[in-house]
Symmetry: C3
Subunit: 243 residues, 3 copies
C-alpha cells in the first residue's frame, strides 16, 4: 500500500529534478520514504534522490516499486498551487496512482518497472577535489561556456587553488572561476562534459550551497540538500577526448 500527502511545490521539485534526465523512472517506496535512481538512455547522467517520510505531510507505505510517467505526473502536480497539498494513493489491483488536490482527481496509469531503462551499477567513486559553492555560480559557468561551445571542462587547479568552468570555441574562449578553494587537488585535474547534460542538470539545482566533486577525466558529482531532510545527487560522466 501507498498513501501519502505532500506540498505541491515539493512534489514538483522532485519531478522536475528527475525530468532533467529522464521522462519515466522507477520509484522505490518503503516505510521510511521514497527514493529514485535513474539514468538517461545514453548512460551519461544519473540522478539519485531520497525523500524521507518526514518531508511528507502524511506518509504510509509498504515496500513497493512503481514505474512513473514523470511528464504526466509533473503536469498534474503543476495544476496545484505551490502551497496546496497533493494526496497520492496507489491502487495495487489496477496499478494506478490516484493524484488528488482540492476537487481535482487524476488517475495515473503506472508503467511496468521492468520496461524502464535499468540503471547501471555505479562503482564507488574516488574524487580528487571537493568544492562547496553556490548553485548560481555553477549555473553561470555553464551558461558562459555555452556562449562558445557545446561542451565544457571543469578544471580543479592546484596553484592557485580554484575551480573553473572552461570552454574553447572556434574563435573565442571562456573561463569562469566558480570558486576559490582551499581543498583542491595536488595537481591540476580536468574533465570535459557535454553542455546539454550540464545545462539540464545544473538548472535543477536548488538555490544555495552545492557540493561538487571532481577528478581527472572523471565523472562529476553534485550533491545538494533538498527541503529539510531530502538529498539530491547528480552524476554526469565525462566526455573522453581522443578516444
Amino acid at each position: 500500500m501507498f498513501e501519502a500527502e505532500m506540498q505541491a511545490e515539493k512534489l514538483s521539485t522532485v519531478a522536475s529534478a528527475c525530468l532533467a534526465l529522464v521522462n519515466e523512472c522507477k520509484v522505490r517506496l518503503d516505510e521510511n520514504g521514497l527514493s529514485i535512481q535513474a539514468v538517461d538512455a545514453a548512460n551519461v547522467g544519473m540522478i539519485d534522490i531520497a525523500v524521507p517520510k518526514e518531508e511528507f505531510e502524511q506518509y504510509e507505505a509498504d515496500e513497493e516499486l512503481i514505474g512513473l510517467n514523470l511528464v504526466r505526473f509533473g503536469d498534474v502536480v503543476g495544476m496545484a498551487s505551490k502551497d496546496d497539498t497533493v494526496a497520492l494513493e496507489l491502487n495495487e489491483q489496477t496499478r494506478k496512482l490516484r493524484v488528488e488536490t482540492g476537487g481535482l482527481r487524476y488517475t495515473l496509469s503506472l508503467i511496468d518497472p521492468d520496461s524502464i531503462h535499468q540503471e547501471p551499477t555505479v562503482p564507488d567513486l574516488e574524487h580528487i577535489a571537493t568544492y562547496s559553492l553556490q548553485a548560481s555560480d555553477i549555473q553561470r559557468g555553464v551558461k558562459a561556456a555555452g556562449l562558445v561551445s557545446d561542451h565544457l571542462a571543469f578544471r580543479a587547479s592546484a596553484n592557485p587553488n580554484h575551480l573553473a568552468a572552461r570552454a574553447e570555441g572556434d574563435t573565442d574562449d571562456v573561463r569562469d572561476i566558480l570558486v576559490r578553494g582551499t581543498d583542491g587537488p595536488e595537481e591540476t585535474e580536468e574533465s570535459l562534459f557535454s553542455l546539454d547534460y550540464m545545462e539540464a542538470v545544473v538548472g535543477e539545482l536548488p538555490d544555495g550551497e552545492v557540493t561538487m566533486r571532481l577528478g581527472d577525466d572523471y565523472p562529476v558529482k553534485l550533491d545538494a540538500p533538498l527541503f529539510e531532510d531530502a538529498e539530491l545527487t547528480y552524476l554526469v560522466a565525462p566526455r573522453i577526448e581522443n578516444e
Copy 2:
C-alpha cells in the same frame, strides 16, 4: 449615426470575448447601446454580448448594423493604455469607422454585414441544472481535462450534488469537482464538449461569478456580468458521441 467614447480596457474586453469564437462580427447599434451575436463557422460556439449606453463615457447612435473586423479592431484598441478613452465615429458615406485615442487615429474599413456568417436562430433552451461558480474554477477544470484528452464532459451529479469536469484519456482519467451545489438535477446528467471551444470560451470569462446551465447531451450556457451593466453569454453545443 454613431459616435461613442469608451474606456480602452472595456472595448478590449468586448473585442477579445468575441475573438474567442470569430474574427469578424455584426454589431447592432441603437439608441440604447450596442449588442453582438455571433456564431463560429462550425455553428458550435455562440456569443451574445450586450453593452448598454451607460457603460460608455459618451454614446449616441441611430439604428445601425455594422460589420467589424475584430482582429484589426482589437489591435488598434490594444494600442491604448487601459485607462485611455477610445472614441468611435461611424462615417456613413464611406462605411468606415474612425477609432481615436490620444493623437492616434485609425480609419477602419467596415465589412458588409451580409458577408458575415449568419447566426442560426437559437431555440429556447431548458436547462436541467444551474450552478453559480467562479470563472477560475471552470478554467481549472478545462485545463485539467486538457491533460488527458481533446474533449471533456461537464457532469451534473444528483447525489451527492456537484458539478464536475471529466475527461478520459488513453491511459489516464481526470475528474475535477468545480462546485458542490444544492440546485442540481434529479438524475445525473452529462454533456460532452470539444476542449478547443471550451478553452477559448472560458479563457474570456471575466474574473468572478459565472452562471453555468447544463443538460444531458445539451448545450452549455455560461452567463457572466461584464463591467457594471453589460452581460456576456456563451453557448457551446455538445459533441454527441456515437452518432
Copy 3:
C-alpha cells in the same frame, strides 16, 4: 593599447544600439574615448555613437581601430548583472579582446576592420523641421503604423504645426500625432520609411527626450543623449516612391 572598465548596463546599451543595424562594427579608440559609426549592408540605416572616457570607470587607450563581433560581445556583456563592472583589455599581438567581469573571462577574437562594411560618407544634411519629443511617442507611432503597412511616413505639417506618423494599408489607415510643435516647416513635408528599419532603430532609443529632424523625401535623423555625456545618433534613408 586599450584598457577600460565600464558598468555592464552601459556597455550592453551601446552594443544593443549598434545591433539594431549591424552585427559587426568598427570601434575607434583614442585617448578621449570610443566612437562607432556603422551602416547596415543596404546603406539605409546609420548609427553614430560617441562615448567619452568620462563614461568609463577607468579608461586608457592609444589610437586603435578594432573590428567587433557585436553579437558575441553583447552575449558576454549580457552575462554580467547590470551594475557589475566589465573590464576590457586589448591584446595587440593576438588581436583579441579580453572581456572580464567577476571571475568570468571571455577572450574575443577581433575582426579585421577592413572586412567590415564601409560606411559611406554622409553629406551635410539640412533638415527643414526639428522636433523634441519623447522616445515613447515615436515608438507608439511606429507600432501604430505597423498595424496596417510595412512602411510609414513621418509628416511635418505646417498649419497646424505637428509631427505625425502615417501609414496607409490596403483597407485601413493610421495617423498618429507624435508632437505638436512650434518649430515646424513653412510647407508640409513628408518622407517615407521602411517599417523594419524604423522599428529596429526606435526600439533602441533610450527613454526620455529625442530630437527628430525631418525633410521632404529626406533622411530622418534621431539624436538622443546616452548616459551623462555620450550621444547616440541614428540616420535612416527614406524610401523614394515612384522611382
